[in-house]
Amino acid sequence: MISTSLKTEGEVLLYPPTFFPRVITLTNYIQIASEASFPRYLLNSILIVVASTSIAVFTSCIGGYIFAKFRFPGKNLIFILILATTMIPFQTYMVPFYLMMKNLQLIDTYLGIMLPLFVTSFGIFFIRQNSISIPDELIDAARIDGGTEWSIFLNLILRLLTAPISAIAIFTFMFGWKFFIWPLIMTNSPKKFVLELGLTTLANRNAMDYGLQMTGAVFSIIPILLTFFILRKKFVSGITMTGMKG
């Protein structure tokens, strides 16, 4: 894929195909970068995924912690309802969800694209499992020291949960980056395209130009590959830890 992206348009169509480019050219990259839209798609993707991941990690932490360490009426019922939704894939309720977004005039907005990613039942469940082992004495001691519930959560609990938090962050980040069908339905204007969407449009418009397509593909995976290589150990443990859905 990377090899093809570096080929000239003529060489891509050569038969038999060459494994390595004979002449290395960056034309495709220049075209992608200068097509103004691609950097824009990248920015959109980053914005949407980073914002929704942060919110999902937060809701998972606060929800998971409360379900693990507090008692309140209706707790079990709410928890079971939340867990039950993990068995219902998004595709089964995307149609009515689209109608709701339409009524709220959220079609073609960043908020509308991000919304389904704001909560993750798996995240709440996972943080709950990891919070149970936090000793109650530790939390009570912090209360006696005069900490408010909020400050205990921020300063004590979050710090104790770093490993599961990074696992959940990786999980939701990758899920958000791969999320395709919802942005596809929700976005009308190319200005709001995420990378995956921009890539399919590029591919449809230049169906025979595999060099350009591969360049777009390479370009679109650079951010996720960079993140992967920098955080490789965390990714590997995160994926095995969460038994993640690929």
């Binding site: 891509v12 149609v95 009515p96 909560v119 519930e149 791969k178 399919t200 095995t240």
Partner: protein, 298 residues
């Protein structure tokens, strides 16, 4: 005094955040899920102002809909073949890797990349590999004198081509989970088998395989559900020139997508979504049933 004050503070904290989470769930999950049921009883056309209640009419129409039947058949076939071969290959790779490499970083990268890279670039790359005139695959089979094939264009090959890509993409993840399972088998079991003079094959059949059953079950269910939700590769590979013919690779989610967002029959698409929901529910219940049975036996 101080105690009840603390209790009040606790309750206020819990009430505030749980309400927020509950409202998010209500809005983002519960209401849409319930609406799927509701909508499926209406003739809900996005363009028409009148949306009459039609009872089970949508479901009756589904039963007569050729496209829907094709989609159900294709998706089931897809799920069956993809799950079978993914599990088979990933178990073989896991067994081969288990002894030799204890998680070398090169292998880590090779097997994790298909998990990390999104499906759109993966599908585009495979579309190019499958290209009838310039594709790598046709070049490779040309080396052994097999004539060129229209991997995606030929309706008899296109679904199989997408299956092959999906199997390739999913092996990494499944292999890793199998590896975790293999490493959890206590070494004493193998030593005992050795003492008893069991051969390699015997050890595999009577120790490794039975102990891998829970993980295999889990992966079967996960992969089946995942397979029933397939959309992105089909979407990418059918759109644009050089793509697969839509009817040959019509799958359930693709059909829902087209009914809802191309023909704007939202009620009809909801009824179809409900069928998908029931299929997935059935698979999940099956899992619970099997697990409970095993629990009783064990």
């Amino acid at each position: 005094m101080g105690y009840s004050n603390l209790q009040k503070k606790k309750l206020r904290f819990v009430f505030f955040w749980i309400s927020i989470i509950f409202l998010l769930y209500l809005f983002l999950r519960f209401i849409p899920i319930i609406s799927t049921f509701y909508l499926s009883f209406f003739r809900w056309d996005l363009i028409r102002p009148v949306k009459p209640f039609v009872g089970f009419n949508n479901f009756i129409r589904l039963l007569q809909d050729e496209n829907f039947k094709i989609a159900i058949w294709n998706t089931s076939l897809f799920a069956f073949i993809v799950v079978t071969f993914t599990l088979l290959f990933s178990l073989l790779v896991a067994l081969a890797l288990e002894r030799k490499i204890a998680g070398g970083s090169v292998f880590e990268i090779i097997f994790f990349l298909p998990i990390v890279i999104p499906l759109v670039p993966i599908s585009l790359t495979w579309k190019w590999i499958y290209d009838p005139t310039n594709g790598v695959l046709n070049y490779l089979i040309g080396l052994v004198d097999i004539p060129k094939q229209g991997w995606l264009i030929n309706p008899r090959l296109s679904l199989g081509s997408i299956m092959a890509m999906t199997i390739w993409q999913r092996i990494g993840y499944n292999m890793i989970i199998f590896l975790v399972g293999l490493r959890e088998i206590p070494a004493q079991f193998y030593e005992a088998a050795k003492v008893d003079g069991a051969g390699k094959w015997q050890t595999f059949i009577s120790i490794t395989l039975p102990l891998l059953i829970p993980i295999t079950l889990y992966l079967t269910v996960m992969n089946t559900i995942e397979a029933f939700r397939i959309f992105t590769p089909v979407y990418v590979m059918t759109t644009g020139a050089q793509g697969a013919p839509a009817s040959a690779v019509r799958v359930l989610v693709m059909d829902i997508y087209q009914n809802a967002f191309r023909y704007f029959n939202l009620g009809y698409a909801s009824a179809e979504s409900l069928v998908l929901f029931l299929i997935i529910l059935l698979i999940s219940l099956l899992q619970f049933g099997v697990f409970r049975k095993r629990g009783v036996l064990a």
